[in-house]
C-alpha cells in the first residue's frame, strides 16, 4: 500500500497542494500526507514543497526532524510502533515487541532490508484501558497478546493491505464505566447553539461566567475569562482551536469524547466562535488518533448540511464559521497551547514566549481561544442548561465534574466521571483497585500519591488533573515508572531551552545509571540538583515538571532508589577499568597488573 516510488512523489505533493492550497501553514499537513504515501519524506517532496509554499527546504527538513512520525529515510511498508507507556509495559509490551521483532526478523527501529516492515516504540498512544496497543501505519491496534502479535506478523509477511486485516484488531472501545454530568447524555439538538443565537452572546458568556467553568486541560484557567479576553482584543479576525492533542501518558478521555460526543464538542466550538467573533476553527488531533479523522470529518460534513457550520449558521445572517481537522505528528509538546499554535502554522512545535498569550496573539498572531475537548463539551451544555447546572456538582472552587482516564492495576480500566471533590479512595474502590501502592495522577509530570493520601480529593484546590489516573499495585517497582517517564521527557523535550533540553537527557542517563546498579548517593544528590534547576529555570511547563517523577519518588519511595546503590561514595559514570582496554590491547598486556583493582 505504501509502495509509492519516488517517481510518484510529485503527484502526491501536487494532490495535497490541490486539496489544501499553498498556504505555508499547511506544511505539516502536506508532510503527513507525503509520509503516509511514501513511508518517508523524500528530498523530491522537500524541493517541491519549498517552491510551492515559499518556505526554505531547511524549515521543511527541520520539521521532519522534529515530529516523531515524520522520517527522512524510508520506513517499512508496514510501519509498526508499539505504544510504550508504563501501562503498556505493565501489560507486557516489551515481551510482545521482542516476539514481533523475532517473528519478522527485524531489529527495533531498523527497516527490514526488503522494505516490508519497521517495528519500533512510540510514546503513549492513548489506549491504556485496552493495551498493550500499537500503531500500524498510524492506525491503532488494541488488546495485543502473543496470539494477536502472531497474526499481525503473518499479515505483514503476506503483505495484506490494512483494509483486509481483521476489523476486530482496530476496534477501540469507549469503556465508559461511570457516566456523570457530561457523559450521561451524548445527544444534542443544538439547543446550546440555538440559545446562544436567541439570547445573544452576552447571555451565553454570562452563563459560562456563572458556571465557574475552568479549563479541563489541566491549568484550570477560567473559560469565560479566556473567551472574554479574546473577544475584547481588537482584531480583524479571531480563531477557535480545540486542543485534541491528548498526549499526556495515561490520558484517553478525549478519544472517547471525540468518538461519541463529537457533536457536542463542535457545538461548544461554534458557540465560542459566536461569542468571540471567529470565522475559522481548528481541531488539532494528535497523530495517534488518525483513526478518528474520518469520523470527525463526517460529523463536520453532516453539521454543514444541517446548517450548524458554514455560512449563516442556523439562518443567522453573517454568522459564518467552519472547522478544520489538523493532524499532529507525534510531539507531546504540541499539547502546550503555544506550541500547538506553532504546529498549526506548520512549524516545529516549540513553545512561544509569553506574554503575549494566545487570547491576544495566537494563530497567525491573532486572538485565539485554545480549549480542551472536554471544556468545549462542558461549555455547550452550560449554555444549554445554564451555569447553575454545573454548579450543582463539585466544590466552590471547582464546579462541575471531571472525566478521568483510569488505567493500570485495577479490574475495570476505562472512563469515569466524578464530581470535583471526590476522594481517591472512592475512585480506587469503584474501578476495582486492590493493594494499591501508588496512584500517578495527571500524567507523567503529575503527582505520585501513596495510600496515606487517598483521602485527598480531585479538585483544582487539592489534586488538579487533566484526567490521567494510573494505578500501581504492590507488585510494581516504582522505579520502572520513573525510568519510563524520564525517558519519555527526554524524548519529548522540544529542545528550545537549556535546562530542559540538556537536563532531561542528564536525568535519563542518571536514572539508568542507578537502575543498572552503578549509582551512588552522589547520583541521587545530582538528580535532586538537576531537578531543582529544571523546575526553577526552564522556559515552559514541560521542563519545569519533567523532574517530578524523580523528585516525587525520591521523597516517597526512597527505598526503590537506595536499594540499587552500589556504594555510598562517588562512582564515576564510566567504567574506569574498561576505559583502559584499548591501552591494554595496544601494549599487549592482559595480566592482572594491567587491570585496576576491584573498585570499592
Amino acid at each position: 500500500m505504501n509502495a509509492a516510488m519516488p517517481s510518484g512523489v510529485t503527484e502526491i505533493v501536487a494532490a495535497s497542494l490541490g486539496r489544501l492550497g499553498r498556504n505555508p501553514e499547511y506544511l505539516l499537513q502536506h508532510l503527513i500526507a507525503v509520509q503516509h504515501h511514501c513511508s518517508y519524506v523524500p528530498d523530491a517532496a522537500v524541493e517541491v514543497l519549498a517552491d510551492a509554499l515559499d518556505v526554505t527546504r531547511t524549515q521543511i527538513r527541520a520539521a521532519v526532524r522534529f515530529y516523531a512520525f515524520l522520517h527522512e529515510t524510508p520506513r517499512g511498508a508496514f510501519d509498526i510502533l508499539l505504544s510504550d507507556n508504563i501501562t503498556d509495559r505493565m501489560l507486557g509490551n516489551q515481551r510482545l515487541l521482542g516476539l514481533l521483532c523475532e517473528r519478522l526478523g527485524v531489529a527495533p527501529g531498523v527497516p527490514r532490508p526488503d522494505g516490508r516492515v519497521t517495528v519500533g516504540l512510540t510514546s503513549c498512544t492513548g489506549m491504556c484501558d485496552q493495551g498493550p496497543a500499537l500503531l500500524v501505519n498510524g492506525l491503532a491496534v488494541t488488546r495485543l497478546d502473543p496470539a494477536r502479535i502472531d497474526r499481525i506478523a503473518d499479515l505483514v509477511e503476506r503483505g495484506l493491505a490494512l483494509p483486509q486485516w481483521p476489523g476486530d484488531f482496530f476496534r477501540v472501545e469507549d469503556n465508559i464505566r461511570r457516566p456523570g454530568l457530561l457523559l450521561s447524555n451524548p445527544t444534542t439538538d443544538a439547543s446550546g447553539l440555538s440559545a446562544t443565537l436567541a439570547k445573544g452572546s452576552d447571555a451565553a458568556l454570562a452563563e459560562l461566567d456563572r458556571s465557574g467553568l475552568r479549563g479541563r486541560g489541566g491549568a484550570g484557567f477560567t473559560t469565560a475569562l479566556k473567551w472574554r479576553l479574546c473577544r475584547e482584543t481588537k482584531a480583524e479576525q479571531r480563531f477557535v482551536v480545540c486542543n485534541a492533542d491528548e498526549g499526556e501518558p495515561g490520558t484517553f478521555k478525549d478519544r472517547v469524547l471525540l468518538n461519541s460526543y463529537a457533536d457536542l464538542v463542535f457545538e461548544g466550538m461554534t458557540i465560542c466562535a459566536r461569542v468571540i467573533g471567529a470565522r475559522q476553527g481548528f481541531l488539532y488531533l494528535r497523530g495517534e488518533y488518525l483513526y478518528l479523522r474520518e469520523h470527525l470529518e463526517s460529523v463536520l460534513a453532516r453539521r454543514r448540511l444541517d446548517r450548524l457550520l458554514g455560512r449563516d449558521i442556523l439562518g443567522a445572517p453573517g454568522f459564518d464559521f467552519d472547522i478544520e481537522v489538523h493532524l499532529g505528528a507525534g510531539a507531546y509538546i504540541c499539547g502546550e497551547e503555544s506550541a500547538l499554535i506553532e504546529s498549526l502554522e506548520g512549524k516545529r512545535g516549540v513553545t512561544r514566549k509569553r506574554p503575549p498569550f494566545p487570547v491576544t496573539s495566537g494563530y497567525q498572531g491573532l486572538p485565539t481561544v485554545v480549549n480542551n475537548v472536554e471544556t468545549f463539551l462542558a461549555a455547550a451544555r452550560i449554555v444549554q442548561w445554564g451555569g447553575q447546572w454545573l454548579r450543582n456538582q463539585g466544590t466552590d472552587r471547582s464546579p462541575g465534574s471531571k472525566i478521568l482516564s483510569i488505567s493500570g492495576d485495577c479490574r475495570s480500566p476505562g472512563i469515569y466521571e466524578y464530581p470535583f471533590g471526590t476522594p481517591l479512595h472512592q475512585v480506587l474502590r469503584d474501578c476495582g483497585a486492590e493493594q494499591t501502592q501508588a496512584v500517578q495522577i495527571s500524567g507523567a509530570a503529575g503527582a505520585t500519591l501513596v495510600p496515606g493520601e487517598f483521602d485527598r480529593v480531585i479538585a483544582f484546590e487539592d489534586l488538579p488533573t487533566a484526567g490521567s489516573f494510573m494505578i500501581f499495585d504492590e507488585s510494581r517497582d516504582m522505579l520502572d515508572m520513573v525510568r519510563n517517564f524520564t525517558a519519555f521527557f527526554a524524548h519529548e523535550s522540544c529542545g528550545f531551552c537549556t535546562p530542559c533540553r540538556v537536563g532531561c537527557a542528564l536525568l535519563r542517563n542518571l536514572v539508568e545509571k542507578v537502575a543498572a546498579g552503578q549509582g551512588s548517593i552522589h547520583d541521587l544528590n545530582e538528580l535532586h540538583h538537576i531537578g531543582a534547576v529544571m523546575r526553577q529555570a526552564s522556559y515552559c511547563g514541560l521542563g519545569q515538571t519533567a523532574p517530578n517523577p524523580i523528585l516525587n519518588t525520591l521523597d516517597k519511595f526512597p527505598e526503590v532508589w537506595h536499594r540499587r546503590l552500589r556504594s555510598v561514595a562517588y562512582t564515576p559514570s564510566f567504567d574506569l577499568d574498561g576505559a583502559l582496554a584499548e591501552g591494554r590491547a595496544l601494549t599487549g598486556r592482559g595480566d592482572a597488573q594491567a587491570h585496576l583493582e576491584e573498585q570499592p
Binding site: T56, R57, T58, Q59, R61, A62, R65, F66, A331, I333, R348, K353, P355, A490, H491, E492, S493, C494, G495, F496, C497, T498, P499, R501, V502, G503, C504, A505, L506, N509, E526, H529, I530, V533, Q536, A537, S538, Y539, S573, F574
Partner: protein
C-alpha cells in the same frame, strides 16, 4: 522616552521606559545581567536561560520579562548564580567546548559568562556528541561542536539579511543548527561574510577564516576585564 517606573535590582534603583524588559532597562542603566542568546538588536528569545533573575520568589528570564514598577530583582544572590552555573555547565557538557585549543578563547561569551558566574568545573558527565565541522565556505567556518543554539545567526539571517540561511532542526538533545542549501553546506548557501549573521555568534561556532589567534594571550577581549565591563562579543564585531 518617558520614564514608566523604577525597580530595584540588588539595592540599586533602575528606571525603565514603556515596553522595556528587565534586561533592556538594566543594560541601559549600565547594570550587567549575564546573557548568551540575548542581543539588544534582536527580539528577546529567552532560550538560554542564563539571564535568570529572582523576582519576588520566582525565577524568570530578565530578557523576556517586562519591567514593572516596584519590582525587587535579585541578580546576584547565591541561588540565582547557582542556577546560572548549572545552566552553563549544561551547555558545556552538551557540546564539545575545548577552551585551551579554541581560537575564540579569551573572546568567547560562553567562557566569559562562565567566569563571571563563577563556574569552575563542568560538573555533569559530558555527552561528547559527534559533530562535523563545515569549512566549505571561502571566508567562514562553522564548528558545530561549539554551537549553543542561541539562534542569533538564525534571527540575523532571517530578520536582517533576509536570507534564512540558518534554522534549528531536530528536537530535544538532537536539536542542532542546519544550513539552507541543497547540500546542507555553508559554501553552497547564500551566506556572505558581510551578512549580519556572520557577526553575531557569541561563541566560536561561526568564525572568519585566516584570523585565528590574532590577539595574543593578555590582549584578548576578556583578558583584562570581565564581561560585565567589556560587554557582548557582538558589540565588538566578533572580538577575535
Amino acid at each position: 522616552m518617558t520614564e514608566a517606573g523604577r525597580f530595584q535590582m540588588d539595592g540599586r534603583e533602575i528606571a525603565f521606559t514603556p515596553g522595556q524588559t528587565i534586561m533592556d532597562a538594566a543594560l541601559a542603566a549600565g547594570a550587567y545581567i549575564p546573557h548568551l542568546c540575548h542581543n539588544p538588536q534582536f527580539a528577546p528569545h529567552g532560550s538560554c536561560r542564563v539571564c535568570v533573575v529572582g523576582v519576588h520568589g520566582r525565577h524568570v528570564s530578565a530578557c523576556t520579562t517586562p519591567a514593572a514598577d516596584g519590582l525587587q530583582v535579585d541578580n546576584a544572590g547565591a541561588e540565582v548564580q547557582g542556577l546560572r552555573q548549572a545552566i552553563l555547565q549544561m551547555l558545556f557538557v552538551e557540546g564539545n567546548h575545548v577552551c585551551p585549543g579554541c581560537e575564540k578563547s579569551g573572546a568567547c561569551q560562553l567562557q566569559a559568562v562562565a567566569y563571571w558566574v563563577g563556574m569552575l568545573t563542568p560538573r555533569f558527565p559530558h555527552f561528547f556528541p559527534k559533530r562535523a565541522l563545515d569549512a566549505s565556505h571561502p571566508d567562514f567556518v562553522i564548528d558545530f561542536n561549539r554551537c549553543i543554539l542561541c539562534e542569533l545567526c538564525v534571527r540575523a539571517s532571517r530578520d536582517v539579511d533576509g536570507k534564512r540561511v540558518f534554522a534549528i532542526s531536530g528536537r530535544g538533545l538532537d536539536s542542532h543548527l542546519v544550513i539552507d542549501s541543497r547540500s546542507g553546506k555553508l559554501g553552497d548557501s547564500r551566506f556572505a561574510a558581510t551578512d549580519r549573521a556572520a557577526h553575531v555568534c557569541p561563541v566560536g561556532a561561526i568564525l572568519p577564516k585566516n584570523r585565528a589567534y590574532a590577539a595574543p594571550i593578555g590582549q584578548r577581549l576578556y583578558d583584562r576585564e570581565p564581561i560585565s565591563q567589556v560587554g557582548d562579543v557582538a558589540a565588538h564585531d566578533g572580538g577575535s
